[in-house]
Assembly symmetry: C2
Homo-oligomer: 292 residues x 2
């Protein structure tokens, strides 16, 4: 039988480098490796841009961590996309990955007292801040762009360690010196899956949306949030981000129950539109926790 | 006349190193240099600890930036203090400093095309993100703990630049290559002044407080915020931070009108106590913008 022409598999852009927690989330979520081509990007910006421009089919970005909180660059980049290309990209799913941070070191480092520098991503430092205060209070903290980069630097520089994923030990000459040094043993990161088409309703969904207010009007935030109360939509999350339009003017980002295509969600969005300057839906997705 | 014994001047711990924006804010706020001794600390953690333990009289920490948003380590450290030593420290004042970020380089760097790496603090990158996308899209970003540290590294490493304050040119061998590269020309950072005694009411004050909710109760956030509406206290800011007590359990941090010693604020705090798990006041301070 002659070779048939094969369609190029869908691509998945993720926040790299290889070995990052986002890489692991993308591998778990798109579980059939032959059906998807995974592409590492160096920044959240680059992942979202690839989805916006259609150079990738899907994008995977970290959204929030149970102990460090929201990933502000993701929030800001989603807002920028909504402002610049409204409706172009949609959050279509979420994925929860348990995060275990390890102390990574070269083979020649034997006691914590010899550690002069610790490399990690700001989220790694944030998730292990109590451990660091107790065990490495005098080591200098060097923030780098990823936990993979941290492992690479710790492999190169004597007297230094990294906080990062066990997966990086396959890429760089470091060993797991101490596993699970995260402050919360049930440390979990939530990731968003992005796509150009919206997701379909499931049995139980959540919607992520944003609004802006006229801050000169007293009580405007209460009024906006009251729309959710009146519409019986529970709020599961609220964040405030600078609008970048004028100083001290904010975008409020809210996660609530329901799918944006449902009447009860549409009613709340309409109510918001009557009291807010601007309202936009960033996506709807199953509220199921898919943990591996 | 014989020398009289002189009292030791009050000390001011600030987020250093010398040359940092917080240093400038502390110098401006405590304007009489002979009346105060300024002490640089390397982390927000260390500044707050010094105030808690009484090893310094005052502390100065960054709180929020008009384009990058809240300084999460400050929020988290204030919450930790409220949990561990309730009522021990108080926010007693705020200070607004206009922030101008500069591109800093050695004398031998002449074209942007030769720049391979950019050093800055995450806030510096965040405040100049549009400029970087336009002018240095291919340079690697290296996050370091302060803009002073960034300037020091740019002075040492050929082909690298830093984003930071003009003040660092007095400390390291770098020049201001391009001034004012911040995305918002009216970029301002707000700082908090911390002390062990609370501040007195002024003509117009604001109060910063936190509360936690039973998240299993639908509508609990709306109910809590409704206390402010009913009490006619405007909200100027709301943030959500992980509680570190259990995953996906949050502290809500709210800035509202009024001084905590006023009856109208006490009434709202009492109303919050009836619907929240936990409520605490972090401080009250003049709402005046003191800009230099």
């Amino acid at each position: 039988m002659a070779d048939e022409p094969t369609a190029k598999p869908p691509t998945v852009a993720f926040l790299g480098p290889p070995g990052s927690f986002t890489h692991k989330a993308a591998l778990n979520y798109f579980a059939n490796p032959s059906a998807h081509e995974l592409v590492a990007e160096t920044t959240i910006e680059a992942v979202v841009t690839a989805v916006e421009q259609g150079t990738t089919t899907f994008g995977v970005v970290p959204f929030e961590n149970s102990s460090a909180g929201s990933v502000q660059p993701t929030l800001d980049r989603l807002l920028l996309s909504a402002r610049t290309f409204p409706g172009r990209i949609h959050i279509i799913d979420q994925y929860y990955l348990p995060i275990h941070q390890c102390l990574l070191a070269r083979d020649d480092l034997l006691t914590l007292a010899d550690v002069t520098q610790v490399y990690s991503h700001p989220m790694g430092f944030s998730q292990c801040s109590q451990w660091l205060l107790q065990h490495l209070p005098h080591a200098e903290r060097v923030e780098v762009t990823s936990t993979s980069k941290a492992a690479e630097l710790a492999a190169l520089n004597p007297g230094t360690v990294a906080i990062g994923s066990q997966a990086t030990t396959q890429l760089y000459k470091v060993r797991v010196w101490l596993p699970n040094i995260e402050d919360q043993s049930d440390n979990v990161t939530r990731f968003f899956v992005l796509h150009q088409s919206p997701g379909r309703p499931t049995a139980e969904d959540r919607t992520y949306l944003y609004f802006t207010l006229d801050h000169s009007k007293p009580g405007s935030l209460c009024q906006a949030l009251d729309a959710f109360r009146v519409g019986h939509l529970n709020l599961s999350k609220i964040d405030t981000r600078p609008s970048h339009l004028q100083p001290w003017h904010f975008y409020f980002m809210v996660e609530c129950d329901g799918h944006y295509s449902q009447a009860r969600v549409k009613a709340v969005v309409a109510a918001l539109q009557s009291v807010c300057e601007k309202v936009g839906v960033l996506g709807s997705y199953s509220s199921l926790w898919r943990l591996t």
